[in-house]
């Protein structure tokens, strides 16, 4: 049985200006501990799809099944990391943010703080446990957000362009860190990006989407050994193939 399964998802946005088709007939399945990237041009419905999987939006047609159960609303089996730095609670320290999910579960204070500190260590921020978010850089804030999503140990990690707003060097570091974290924790990860190199670096499999309305165009399995070398010929070949797949649309319009 696949861990996550999207069955024929369609969603129409109801706006004052009329109905906007968001997604049409999106289906895919993934195994536990798989790292799936979703790429596609801006506006093709990547965030919409992720929000549906997270349970923030209910689709008009179709359903998401996680471990065989249909998704109804958000749940603690999924951790979410958004693109926006502002996702951290400014009134809580880094540690307080990471401990939030455990606090909601009713884990005693000492225990949850120990766990949260462990997670911060995983993203190399244990020395900033007592800092408030506004004293952290953008990259550090995103690392705290990742630790926060991991802390209550969800089986699935959903990430929506978490590093898009970072500079290239920091983004490189972050990608390496994320690959490490995934290797140690073996979560099932869905990662949205429009950066092709990032997708090839991180993913087991890449879902390519096309816009108007958002549909799955094709899937590409990345058969490269890890850790991956972004300068190798094979890496560049995959990158070219994805760019070609994305570029076809651009011409089509």
């Amino acid at each position: 049985m696949p861990h996550i399964e999207a069955r024929d998802i369609s969603l129409i946005y109801d706006t004052p200006g009329g109905a906007v088709p968001g997604l049409r007939g999106v289906s895919f399945a993934m195994e536990a501990s798989e790292f799936l990237c979703i790429v596609g041009p801006s506006g093709c419905g990547k965030s919409t799809l992720l929000n549906i999987i997270a349970g923030f939006i209910t689709p008009n047609v179709g359903e998401i099944r996680i471990a065989g159960q249909p998704v109804r609303g958000s749940g603690m089996d999924r951790g979410v990391v958004f693109q926006d730095f502002a996702q951290l609670f400014p009134w809580r320290t880094a540690l307080g943010n990471v401990a939030f999910g455990l606090e909601m579960k009713g884990v005693p204070k000492a225990e949850r703080e120990a766990t949260a500190l462990e997670q911060l260590r995983l993203v190399k921020l244990e020395h900033f446990a007592k800092s408030y978010p506004h004293h952290l850089s953008g990259g550090m804030q995103q690392r705290v957000a990742i630790a926060r999503a991991l802390a209550y140990n969800p089986a699935v990690l959903l990430m929506d362009e978490p590093f898009a707003a970072l500079d290239a060097l920091t983004r490189d570091d972050m990608q390496r860190l994320l690959a490490d974290v995934w290797r140690t924790t073996r979560k099932t990860v869905i990662y949205v990006t429009h950066n092709v190199a990032e997708a090839v670096y991180l993913a087991d499999r890449v879902v390519v989407m096309t816009p108007h309305p958002g549909t799955v165009k094709t899937e590409v399995t990345i058969k490269l050994p890890r850790p991956r070398d972004p300068l190798s010929v094979e890496f560049l070949d995959y990158q070219k193939e994805l760019l070609r797949l994305l570029g076809q649309d651009a011409k089509g319009h």
Binding site: S74, M76, A86, Q87, F89, F100, M104, H134, R148
Partner: protein
């Protein structure tokens, strides 16, 4: 930098001294009746006297009691109602039109009506303070709740927060810049209202009443000492109470910008 600071302080001190000296000179010149313009010595003596015999403390206590009751009620009503307005459309639809119609009426305008209904005394003053302080509290809380970043609600929801946790751990802290601005504004309005209400409706205690009563007997020195105490209390609450509340919360969290509209 430090020299600059010192010069500013020095100049400030000089201004205050010069202004006081001019006042003293005019007061001593004999152009005005001493009853209308007592010398600084007399004012200070009166102030000290009233502090030492405890009467000033009694008046201040009466005023503080009234203002705290009215302000406390305003927070007690305005904060939850503001949150409800921000969270539930029907509550907003019902309360907002009423609030927008009542808010532009200065609280002091109700004094004669309330006196007629309740008689002179504490109840009128407290009610006037409540009226003055309620609307800033209500409307600030309401805008604060609406300004809570939806991504915080989603993140908390994804981590399993229920309505109760959402309220106490996300909405209230998320709206805190506005709520604190509301508390501050409310208290300022309450402080003005209590003085006005005491002048017009108090029986025989309170700093506002002292000023008003002193006018009848041309006790300008009493008036001025009461003014000094009023200013002192206003200053202390503004700087110490609300200042430290802000430093402990929104400044520490880097959220101070949010409510400075």
């Amino acid at each position: 930098m430090i020299a600059d600071r010192a010069r500013s302080l020095w100049r400030g001190a000089v201004t205050v001294i010069v202004v006081l000296a001019i006042y003293e000179a005019v007061a001593r010149s004999g152009h005005f009746a001493p009853a209308l313009m007592p010398t600084l010595g007399v004012v200070l003596q009166t102030l000290l006297g009233s502090l030492l015999d405890g009467s000033m403390f009694e008046h201040a206590a009466a005023t503080l009691y009234r203002v705290l009751c009215g302000f406390g009620l305003a927070v007690f009503v305005g904060l939850p109602l503001g949150v409800l307005m921000g969270r539930f459309r029907p509550v907003e639809n019902f309360v907002l039109p009423l609030a927008s119609a009542l808010m532009p009426i200065p609280s002091l305008a109700w004094i004669p009506v309330f006196i007629l209904w309740l008689g002179l005394g504490n109840a009128v003053t407290i009610l006037i303070v409540l009226y003055a302080a309620l609307f800033p509290m209500l409307l600030n809380t309401w805008s604060g709740v609406r300004a809570v970043n939806p991504i915080w609600l989603r993140a908390a929801g994804a981590m399993g927060a229920n309505e109760n946790a959402l309220f106490w751990k996300v909405i209230i802290p998320g709206a805190s810049p506005f709520i604190i601005a509301g508390l501050r504004q409310s208290f300022l309005r309450a402080w003005v209202a209590v003085i006005g209400a005491e002048m017009l409706a108090a029986s025989n205690f309170g700093l506002g009443w002292v000023i008003f009563d002193a006018k009848e007997f041309l006790n300008t020195d009493v008036m001025l000492s009461s003014l000094i105490v009023i200013g002192f209390i206003g200053f202390v609450t503004e700087r110490l109470v609300f200042g430290s509340l802000e430093r402990a919360t929104i400044y520490r969290w880097g959220m101070a910008q949010a409510a400075k509209t």
